[in-house]
Amino acid sequence: MTDQGVATSTASAPLGEATRRHQRRVAPRPVGAGWRQRLEIAFFVTPALALMAIFVVWPVVSAVRMSFYRWKGFGPMDDFIGIDNYRYVLTDEVFTGAVTHNFIIVFASILIQLPLGLAVALLLDRKIRGRGALRTIVFVPYVLAEVIAGVVWYQLLQPESGVIDGLIRAVGLTPPDQGFLGTPDLALATVFVVLTWKYLGLAILLFLAGLQGVPTDLYEAAQLDGASWWQVQRRIAIPLLGPTIRTWCFLSMIGSLQLFDMVWILTGGGPANATTTMATYLVNQGTGRHNYGIAGAASVILFAIGFVMALVYQVFVLRRDTAAER
């Protein structure tokens, strides 16, 4: 019956041979099973693919298409201007400034949040009183919606009337005249502090989870050998956390490149473009100024930068982890 099915469905003998050999390896199936399986796959995958196509592929394709036109957001898209939008974006000081800010956030996150997160995770991994409560407190900012956290910090950071200025004045210091967010030289650093407060919890949670995976007998063996707590952390815990740390760095990098919400709420990219990111730039150009072509070009550049960085990171850093698994 199997042979018959194969014979009728294949035209040439060599191919029939190949199929038969292949089918001998797997269990013999009734006629039309291949078709049925394909239909089943189609049936279950189609909705997901359709959603992907509508909400991911199509927007990406239209952004790329948009980036070659001058288009105000309505009417026919027929004013083709080649790569002019890309030229505009790449020579715009505001955009190059935005790229710089994004990279400052990428590196500051890794240089500051990583050691900080690691330290807190190692501390919270010890058996101390109130550990559960402490872990919860550390993680709460991450659970809070970004917009809500942003509005709360915006109010705390108000000059004169804000709580933070009040605290600084209470200990006898002078807060910046225009407030932390209103002073161009301080604004990006202030945004970064708020981001660290918000996202440190995720780093700690991931590292704590990673520490759970370190076999306890390794610790015990080291202790028997007379290793101090510090030596145990440095020689055993942190090296074994490697894959977790590398994954966190990757997530942090991508998040920093796409940074939008917090900046938008705290400063809107100001003062004097001191905190613009690529995402705030493209929103300002698109929905703000109706320069959808320029916004499209900026989004393609943002995608390209993110894609290249992800690829490089994958090849040079994460490959070690995936290779080890195989």
Binding site: W35, F43, I54, G75, L181, P184, P271, A272, T287
Partner: protein
Amino acid sequence: MRSKTRSAALAVLCASVLTFAACGSDDSSKESGGDTTITWWHNSNNEPGMGYYEQVAKDYEADHPGVKIEISAMAHEDMVDKLDAAFQSGDIPDIYMERGGGELADHVEAGMVKDISDSASEEIDKIGGSVGGWQIDGKTYALPFSLGVVGLWYNTDLFEQAGITAPPTTMAEWSDDIAKLKDAGITPISVGAGDKWPAAHYWYYTALRSCPEDVLTDAVTSLDFSDPCFVKAGEVVEDLLGTDPFNKGFLTTKAQEGATSASGLLATGKVAMEMQGHWEPGVMQGLTDDGKGLGDKTGWFPFPAVEDGQGDPADALGGGDAWAVSEEAPDEAVDFVKYLLSDEVQQGFAENDMGLPTNPAANDSVSDPALAGVLKARDDAPYVQLYFDTAFGASVGGAMNDEIALLFAGEASPQDVVDATQQAADAEQ
């Protein structure tokens, strides 16, 4: 069986596509069995305005059997976003708000707005000169229902405390008053420079005071900003900034959201003045617990004259909202818009303090004394300049506002403002 499964798969595909893509099916202007549905978007989403408009629609429906008006009342920002999306998709509500200027010109060029010059000629005559902002090449595309001018709202109590007897009429007097307020320990002015446009209004006004009227009217069409008066405008703003009159942290202050916004600071008595449009009393009411705003402490004065300025000190900066009808809308929509501009509806509009009516028959219905002052300034102004960002359109206006915000931050010179605006204007052509 094969074909059955395939068609089932196809059905699932269609269903998922339909669910997500076809929500925006065209439900406007359905005409079945003589019934006409008109969709109407407006931004009066608070009482009494929202209830008033519902009543207006009901009255109209009662007089016109077979016509149904479907209202969507939204917060202003939401409405602007939804309108942008509607223009992109081409599924535009039958009646919506147009602010005139470059934006309207773009919509007209894309063939999305109905020409109502003939069908509403009577109303156009009645409104008079104010309709000019919604005319292109002699054709009228929308009827303004509220037209206001920007000026300085102030707290009469704080002025008294600082020993200021009369509002300033020149920049020099203003500067003296700012000094008096600071001596009395009062922050003189709040500005929502974080939202950019409130800061830009200062430059617009100094340009209006510095430039002769014909230079401004020419600039709107020629997009030529080479006249030195535009640089002077920036210098006057710089002089004002030199007196350090603004609230702390004004570079990131928002215009009208919450008590720490520029309007909130004025409403709660933290600052003495704020430059805003005619909507300010309404905004302040929403920002105070008792819902009164500054109440009877509210004062208003026009932007002071600029020394050696070539503009008429009585000219005003302003703008308004107009009802436009989309190209595809049924004729009944035009008729309803005409009803919205009738003496009766405009009087009710004014009585509810929803704005400054454009139908002169409703002028006496404006009860609020501060608003009546604004209305007088508007009607006495020999020339009302539409907000530059609206007049020039989003692209040029946005570039202009961004650069003015940099001027406020001390990171751009008066010449930079002119250059950035000119550059954006050149890219447009």
